[in-house]
Amino acid sequence: MLTSRGSTLLLVLIGILAAAALLPPTYGTVWLPDRNAGMGLLAVTVGLWLLWEWIGFTIRSRIVLRGLKVERIVRDDHGPVESLWAGRSFDVEVSVHLPEGLALPYVVLADRVPFGVENIAGSERWQGTLEAGQTVQWSYRIRCQALGRVRFEGVSVQLSDLCGLFYHATFLGAAAGFRVLPPLTDIRGKTARLKRHNLLPPPGVHRHRQPGSGSELLDLRDYRPGDPPKTIAWKVSARRDRLISKEFESDVPVRCTLFLDTSNSVRVGPPGENTLARLVEIATNVAQANSGARDLTGLCLFDETKATPIRPARGSRHLAGLLNRLTDAAGLAASTGQASIETLLPLAYSFAREAYPEQLRPEVNRFPWWLPWLFPQPLYSRPRKRWVDYLEYGHRFYWLAFAACVLYCLYLLGTGQIQTAIFLFLASLVITLGYLVFVDYTFKGHRAARWRKRMAAILSVQYGLAPGGLALLMEDDREFSIYLQRFLADHHVPYSLPLYDDTGRYLFAAPEKIQILSRALLGAVGRGRDNELFVLLVDLLELPDQLGPLLRAVKAALARHHQVLVICPWPAGVEARGRRGEEERGRQDDTETTSRANTNRRSRRTTLDSPPPRALSQSHLRYTVLLHRLTTERFQRSFRRLQRAFARLGVPVICARDSEPARLVIDRMERLRPLGKLR
């Protein structure tokens, strides 16, 4: 609370006051009772003023600030909105009201702009004097860059007196979450240039070559008793001399079910720029295009643990529901229990200091300073041990050695060797404390323990783990890491994760999702009707050897005359199998896409997305290029194996990066409409 400016003044004041009170009031050898009165008065004058300022500031910071009320309205040109749209700009109006009472002499209020949102005009800050009963308003304009969710946390408050002697920073929580919906698109498939049918069914209704109540003639057959007279083909009946009935095609809607992979494998990367965002973008485009053609669209979100299906339907309300679900899915963040606490903890703690400063106060979240020295985390409960851990674990032995020294000192005292005992005691104390401080300062052990305890307490309360959650999170690295990731993801704070474990295995392959997807696909086939299209938006690049259950489910779907399309996301920064070749492939028919890999091998050369920075040394650059090339080749090989595996079933596999998968899906729907497949 006291700034360095205030601390300096206070120290000088205490010094003057001590001098005035303790120095003998003499001039030479003459005793003068009022000799130090001038100094004392000077110190008391400034001290009284400082005390008054401190009391006023403390009341303001502890009492008045808690009464501030924050309101935030996000609006566009038409008024307040509850959802945002990617790529569009919105006005954020923030108002803060100070109730009657004391004024705030100088305060800076700053609305915390969420991650993934860009401030394009205006300032998110307000500064000045806040009078009692006053309401201040300010506004700024934001642009949402990527779809997902954004979260406005609240308003940070910085309070100071006019002289800058005291300072207090806090945060007024006013959390509000908004969905950032994908932009509306107008993607249309390739329409037929040749007129193939006389009938043009209304939107959303498609011909199906099965007897039904449509209006297009399907077949002629003998009359059966009970056939309506209007279906009798009189001319043919007259010619054949027996009654012949006409059979008509059935009018059916085309259903498209999107299976969207939301497992950890597609969540890796910055939110809005990862492969999940690309898949969600494709899915939203398809859903919007289908809605425009009045086709029915279903959705099934699946990950490693469960699948959440939504039945195919049409209508604006259904579309809005789909978009909301897809937007929520786009904001999911990857998580693994093997992430390092050393990386996540500083990030989470610094965010908590900004957004939850009141919950880090020692009054409610206390940390015993001796705890990591006397009870350090044991080595056996640490998944990965480092040599520093052994050093830190030795704390208790240092204390034991110190206790032994103290006992020996007491023994020396008892035997009358007082000077030796005192010397030994002081020496051991200095060595022990010095060593502990050195180790803690060098390896930041004490600070990390303090941060961990405080964060564990906050996480335990926020996620309902109290009262035992605090100890659990303090002792279990894996649980603590997972909850830290959840905390950061809930507040949309970007964080980095390791991709491989100690043995070199990829952590986010998520092979369990194959079973989940297969089960969901079979369920959809069981519920399916006519002319269904199943689009699998799934990352299978890491799992080309474990496709068995999925291939069986796809076979079942094809056996029921449904169509299946696989769209596989492509990792960012990795060259696909030749951009030109993929684009051409995207424009070709299904036969071309399902054909064997006629890839353009000339385009296999790898290129880095960004030019190498100059700071990289030549050898480092060489290793980077080599690693990049190996990764690219591995992905390309895996993609070819995927294509081969599905091509045996006649299912195309499309890369979701270079071509235009959304348009391909819509084209396939178009082809499904007029003819479908003969059953």
Binding site: T8, L22, L470
Partner: protein, 263 residues
């Protein structure tokens, strides 16, 4: 973030010029009082010089050093006459010093920074910085200044009135403060120091206790949960620690087994 106001000449900016005038007038008064109080003329120049340096070159330590040099001057003065219960020169000197301190600190808030400096926040183009055994090429540290347009006439008036008021209160308090009451035999100045410490400490304890009580009464639900959780943890820390360490150990052992079984 810097204020958007361009800082031209301080004399041309209304808020700054007011505080400059108050500071210079206060320094003049201090100098005159020191001259009248039989302090060596050369010694009287030190506080004034420090004060002028603080105003002109924005020396951050100027107020504290002025206070220290002023106290030294008062200690070195030659006492020729004893004043009555109300010491006029002390009153004027204390008022002027307080006015200078307030003006100088507010000037620093307007021209340098009002909030503590955060060395992580930097802005502007990078340039070379010579530090203690270090040479770094980085942008300037961002400083938060109070905009000069926010300075009002009321705060200047309150500054002048307040300096007089606090000087008068200090005089009254000093005279009221007992130096012999209840003295068990200490020298009067020592007894006064002891009493001052005890009374000041008791006042601070009461104020802190009241604020602490108030803050507990107004805890949010999350803060109260944190407090209760902390108390529970404090009472059962050892047992919880032991159970959770065993649990973590068992999980790690199981993971190792699974890893060994994995192809």
């Amino acid at each position: 973030m810097k204020s958007s106001d361009p800082i031209r000449s301080p004399w041309q900016t209304p808020g700054l010029s007011h505080y400059l005038i108050v500071g210079l007038v206060s320094l003049s008064v201090i100098w005159l009082v020191l001259l009248r109080r039989e302090v060596t003329p050369a010694a009287t120049l030190f506080p004034v010089l420090v004060g002028i340096l603080g105003i002109t070159i924005r020396w951050r330590l100027a107020p504290a050093i002025l206070l220290a040099t002023l106290a030294l001057c008062l200690k070195l003065e030659y006492p020729v006459r004893s004043e009555g219960s109300f010491r006029l020169t002390d009153f004027v000197l204390c008022g002027a010093t307080l006015a200078y301190l307030m003006a100088q600190y507010r000037l620093q808030s307007l021209m340098d920074h009002i909030f503590p400096i955060d060395s992580r926040r930097r802005e502007g183009p990078p340039r070379w910085h010579v530090g203690f055994l270090s040479l770094r090429y980085q942008p300037e540290i961002a400083k938060e200044r109070r905009p000069a347009k926010l300075v009002s006439r009321e705060e200047i008036g309150m500054l002048i009135l307040g300096s007089g008021l606090w000087a008068a209160l200090a005089q009254a308090g000093w005279n009221w403060f007992p130096s012999s009451w209840g003295n068990p035999g200490f020298p009067p100045h020592v007894w006064r120091a002891i009493l001052l410490t005890w009374i000041g400490g008791a006042c601070l304890y009461v104020v802190f206790s009241l604020l602490h009580y108030w803050s507990r009464r107004h805890m949010t639900v999350d803060e109260a949960m944190l407090f209760l959780q902390d108390e529970f943890w404090k009472e059962t820390r050892g047992e919880q620690r032991r159970i959770n360490r065993w649990r973590a150990w068992a999980r790690i052992r199981q993971e190792r087994k699974d890893k060994d079984l994995r192809p």
